[in-house]
């Protein structure tokens, strides 16, 4: 199956969704994203890290250095309260959009 690029503007939503379950480091996020999308989405680190940094700066994420399972240290991101609110807002909007698109496609 061909790999898809993450649709414009949805990467933040996916990052927030993944981190809502548990804190995770950058590599873990990209792996989880691949797994959850059944390997459809491939996120380029060159897009992932800038997004993480922007979300962190904006106070949606908080980060700390922690040891990984195999005894390295990595920077783990977790959602802040503001991040949760943003996730909720984004998710609702996404659902509206996808419902609207689906309606258009079916109705046409």
């Amino acid at each position: 199956m061909a790999k898809l690029d993450v649709p414009q503007g949805t990467l933040d939503l996916m990052i927030l969704t993944i981190l809502a379950r548990e804190p995770m480091h950058g590599y873990g996020i990209s792996q989880r994203l691949a797994a959850l999308s059944h390997d459809s989405f491939q996120v380029n680190p060159g897009s992932l890290f800038p997004s993480l940094y922007r979300l962190e700066q904006d106070g949606k994420l908080k980060a700390e250095w922690r040891p990984t399972e195999n005894n390295r240290t990595a920077k783990y991101y977790r959602l802040t309260a503001a991040g949760r609110r943003q996730l909720e807002a984004h998710r609702q909007r996404w659902e509206q959009i996808s419902f609207a698109i689906a309606s258009v496609l079916e109705g046409a």
């Binding site: 480091h25 950058g26 060159g46 897009s47 890290f49 940094y53 700066q57 195999n70 390295r72």
Partner: protein, 886 residues
């Protein structure tokens, strides 16, 4: 996201940029490690796993670069780097940087200096409470072209009483006083004001109290307020100054208080150190007593509208009230028609928060012309700097090509170059601001050579700083944008090739810039020539009297105060040729007019002639020729038949040729009908202004004039004026201990009428020289560049047998082409500009051949001088070396 949050993260970025970078590095390495570890688990060898992981990441640096771009303050970060880079470039091109900064400093300094004057004269609020509320009261009479800004004392007081319209009205006029004890009195600039003045303006005292309405009552003891500056200079800020006595014009007055620092009257440019109520004037200056009457219009009025009503509403209300109160406020002795015109007049209320000053009307045109001149200088400077930067841009071609090749965007490099321009402009502006402070004082001195000492507060305020910064930024864009675009328009490969310097495409912009400078400089030079010739024409103009060698001693107006033996005592001084008294002197700024017609004709209501009361020797002292009849003599005393001397213009208007002497006049003289016998005809004098035609004038005998009239003693002396002034001051001072004796050459009075022309000629001349200098630098730079670029060609020509003189010709021709191109645009532009200032010119037309010839010659000579060095260098090119070069 909150602003606070953003500020914090920007601050954090700036403070811990390196630490943040290191952590980002760690994070990305962790990513590679984790990714590699997973591949190892899948059986890939370690080395290969790491390589694949790194590949997936796409390299650590590119990711870091993209993260950096996401950071808050990323652009600020780049700005800091650009600024640092710019300063490194300045350090590398020190001579060029200095030249540019100096050029900018002069050009921006000139603009700021002129703006400082404009600001001080036109834009500064008075230091009073809510100045923006204040309104200047004007009266538009039915038969007047322009509204009048002068009011009589009764009207000024009546305006203050209109509580339905105004919270208060402040009437004021500047007035000089002689202050101090007998023998040590000195002249102080002061003001007379109505009782509501300080309350209306909302000025606070720093000691004692200010004048109130109950101080402004005729007949009460004289009270005075002094300025903060006067308090410091004369009383060393003594805390008990309120209540002390101060002799003003020899009359004891009580100082009631000191006005707040910064406030020195509402007449901008004229300091009021001592302020007294109008009602005190008759006591202080008996000859000024008529000023409190209804017939004299001399007070300016600033009013503050009643709370809650605006200017329009106040004006409407005032015009409703005026017809009801007008009758009692208009002089009863006026003819009915004049009374009617006055009662039917309409009030106008104009913004008055910047105070009032006669200087505004006087200097509006000169300042507009000067502003245009300094803008031209600035444009020349911009063209000059742009050409310098263009010349450097070819040097920097390689550097820029490298950066473009390494992937920097063109916008990024244009921004870098513009930041350099802005920095240069700001540094230039900083130095320019300092120059402007000094130059501003010089400008005020130029204005001050007039009759009155002009004092301005020139400390830079935010207007001036904002203006300078704005000019600097505009300048930076003008001179920076073209070189920046041109420098980056090169393809990297071409820029990197070895031949980049010599084979660079010939810029068409550079010669165009130099020609522009020539054109602008020509406009300035022609203008300077016209103004200088105007001043010369005025100075050479024969006004009908000879000011050289004449001294004037003015007394605060009063015949009564002139000691009887003063004239005789002065006649006895060594070197004194003649001495005379008169009420007025030519070009003093003060004139007197009355109606006068041949006997038998009805005397008109309106004045039709200038009047001067003069004593014996008056015409001899001023060297005004007596063309028929005789001069006044001692015989024309008070009890002798009333006589008059008329000037030629008056004689021509009213008498057939040669019949004036012996004729009789009916005239009103100071309110009395007199019949005068004409005993002589004098030459015309331009007594009211050099540009105005000589007015018809009637001279009456000083001895036959009743009352306490203004008096000036004129002394004609031979030899140097300095000792004569000292001798006259000493002789008069001994007899007049209460007065500050003011002895000045008549030529100073004449010069004072040319203050604006002198200011324009001086400044236009100076700026013209600056413009020529800048243009020469520009031309030199262009030619020097051309010679370097054409070294090889010149070498070949020489090798083929060309004469060195031909090479020199080649360079000179190049210069001549640039100048000719500039002149082709500049001369028509100069002509158009000259037509715009036609009204200020005197004795010449806008297309004055001498001015134009001088401008073209000066510029041509300067261009030749600028071409000399490059031409000589070209002629010394060694053909062999030139051909081996490369």
């Amino acid at each position: 996201m909150t602003i606070l949050h953003r500020i914090r993260s920007v601050a954090a970025l700036l403070l811990r940029r390196d630490a943040a970078d290191a952590r980002l590095n760690d994070e990305l390495e962790a990513y590679v490690e984790l990714s590699a570890a997973e591949r190892v688990r899948d059986g890939v060898p370690l080395e290969e796993a790491r390589r694949l992981a790194m590949l997936e990441l796409g390299g650590i640096e590119p990711v870091k670069e993209r993260v950096r771009a996401e950071r808050h303050g990323a652009s600020l970060d780049e700005l800091v780097r650009d600024v640092r880079y710019a300063f490194r470039m300045f350090g590398r091109h020190r001579a060029l940087t200095m030249t540019i900064v100096a050029t900018l400093a002069i050009a921006i300094g000139a603009n700021t200096a002129i703006f400082t004057l404009v600001d001080a004269l036109m834009l500064r609020w008075l230091p009073v409470r809510d100045p923006q509320e204040l309104l200047l009261v004007k009266l538009q009479a039915l038969d007047a072209k322009q509204p009048s800004e002068s009011f009589s004392y009764p009207i000024a007081r009546a305006l203050d009483d209109q509580r339905e319209v105004f919270a208060g009205a402040a009437g004021f006029s500047s007035y000089p006083f002689d202050v101090g004890e007998r023998g040590s009195a000195h002249r102080v600039s002061g003001a007379v004001v109505t009782g509501g003045y300080y309350e209306t303006l909302g000025v606070m005292p720093v000691a004692g109290r200010l004048l109130r309405r109950d101080d402004d009552v005729v007949g009460t003891a004289v009270t005075a307020v002094i300025s903060d500056g006067f308090w410091r200079r004369e009383f060393a800020r003594a805390p008990d100054v309120a209540g002390r006595s101060l002799r003003i014009n020899g009359v004891p007055a009580t100082i009631v208080g000191v006005s707040a620092p910064g406030f020195a009257g509402a007449n901008v440019g004229w300091i009021a150190d001592v302020t007294v109520p109008v009602a005190a004037l008759p006591q202080l200056s008996p000859q000024a007593a008529p000023l409190v009457g209804a017939g004299n219009f001399w007070l300016r009025v600033l009013a503050r509208p009643r709370l809650g009503i605006g200017a329009t509403e106040a004006q409407a209300r005032l015009n409703v009230v005026w017809p009801r109160i007008a009758d009692s406020l208009i002089a009863a002795h006026w003819p009915a028609s004049r009374r009617q015109a006055m009662a039917g007049a309409e009030f106008q209320l104009a913004p008055g928060g910047t105070g009032w000053t006669p200087l505004r009307a006087l200097y509006m045109t000169p300042l507009a012309v000067l502003s245009a001149i300094v803008v031209l200088v600035l444009l020349i400077a911009c063209a000059n700097i742009a050409s310098l930067l263009l010349a450097r841009a070819s040097d920097r071609r390689r550097e820029i090509a490298v950066r473009l090749a390494l992937g920097a965007g063109r916008a990024r490099i244009v921004r870098q170059l513009l930041i350099e321009s802005v920095l240069l402009a700001l540094i230039g502006a900083g130095v320019g601001l300092a120059i402007a402070v000094v130059a501003g004082r010089f400008l005020v001195d130029l204005i001050s050579t007039g009759r009155m000492r002009v004092v301005f507060d020139l400390t830079p305020n935010w207007h001036i700083v904002a203006f300078t910064a704005g000019v600097a930024l505009a300048t930076a864009v003008i001179f920076g944008i073209a070189p920046a675009l041109q420098a980056t328009s090169v393809a990297p490969a071409a820029g990197l090739s070895d031949d980049a310097r010599t084979s660079a495409r010939r810029s068409r912009l550079l010669p165009a810039l130099v020609s522009t400078q020539v054109a602008l400089a020509l406009v300035l030079l022609v203008g300077a020539g016209l103004f200088i010739r105007t001043l010369q024409n005025l100075q050479r103009f024969d006004p009908g009297f000879d000011a050289r060698g004449v001294l004037l001693a003015s007394f605060d107006g009063r015949r009564a105060s002139v000691p009887a033996d003063a004239v005789d005592a002065l006649r006895g001084l060594p070197g004194v040729v003649s001495v005379s008294v008169s009420t007025h002197t030519p070009l003093s700024g003060s004139t007197w007019s009355e109606p006068a017609v041949p006997a038998g004709q009805p005397v008109p209501e309106r004045d039709n002639a200038f009047f001067v009361a003069a004593g014996p020797e008056f015409f001899a002292t001023l060297r005004i020729p007596i063309v028929a009849g005789r001069d006044f003599s001692e015989r024309d005393a008070a009890d002798a038949p009333a006589v008059a001397v008329v000037n030629e213009r008056f004689a021509q208007r009213f008498f057939a040729n040669g019949t004036a002497v012996g004729g009789r006049l009916d005239a009103n003289v100071r309110g009395r009908r007199r019949r005068l016998e004409i005993i002589g005809v004098a030459g015309n004098t331009n007594a009211a202004g050099l540009r105005a035609a000589a007015p018809p004038t009637v001279y009456v005998s000083y001895a036959q004039l009743a009352g306490d009239v203004p008096t000036t003693i004129a002394v004609r002396a031979t030899g140097p004026l300095g000792p004569a002034i000292a001798a006259v001051s000493r002789t008069l001072g001994a007899r007049l201990p209460d007065e500050a004796i003011d002895v000045r050459p008549l030529s100073e009075q004449v010069d004072a009428t040319m203050v604006q022309e002198r200011m324009l000629a001086t400044l236009a001349g100076a700026f013209g020289a600056v413009a020529v200098g800048l243009t020469c630098i520009g031309l030199y730079g262009l030619l020097a560049c051309t010679v370097v670029r054409r070294t090889k060609e010149i070498g070949i020509r020489l090798a083929m047998g060309a004469q060195r003189s031909q090479v020199i010709r080649m360079v000179i021709d190049d210069a001549a082409r640039r100048v000719a191109a500039g002149a082709a645009v500049g001369l028509p532009a100069a002509w158009a500009a000259a037509r715009a200032v036609r009204s200020i010119l005197f004795g010449l037309t806008p297309a004055d051949p001498a001015a134009i010839a001088a401008a073209v010659t000066a510029l041509g000579a300067a261009a030749l001088a600028a071409a000399y060095l490059p031409a000589r260098r070209a002629s010394r090119v060694d053909p062999l070396a030139a051909l081996r070069h490369e």
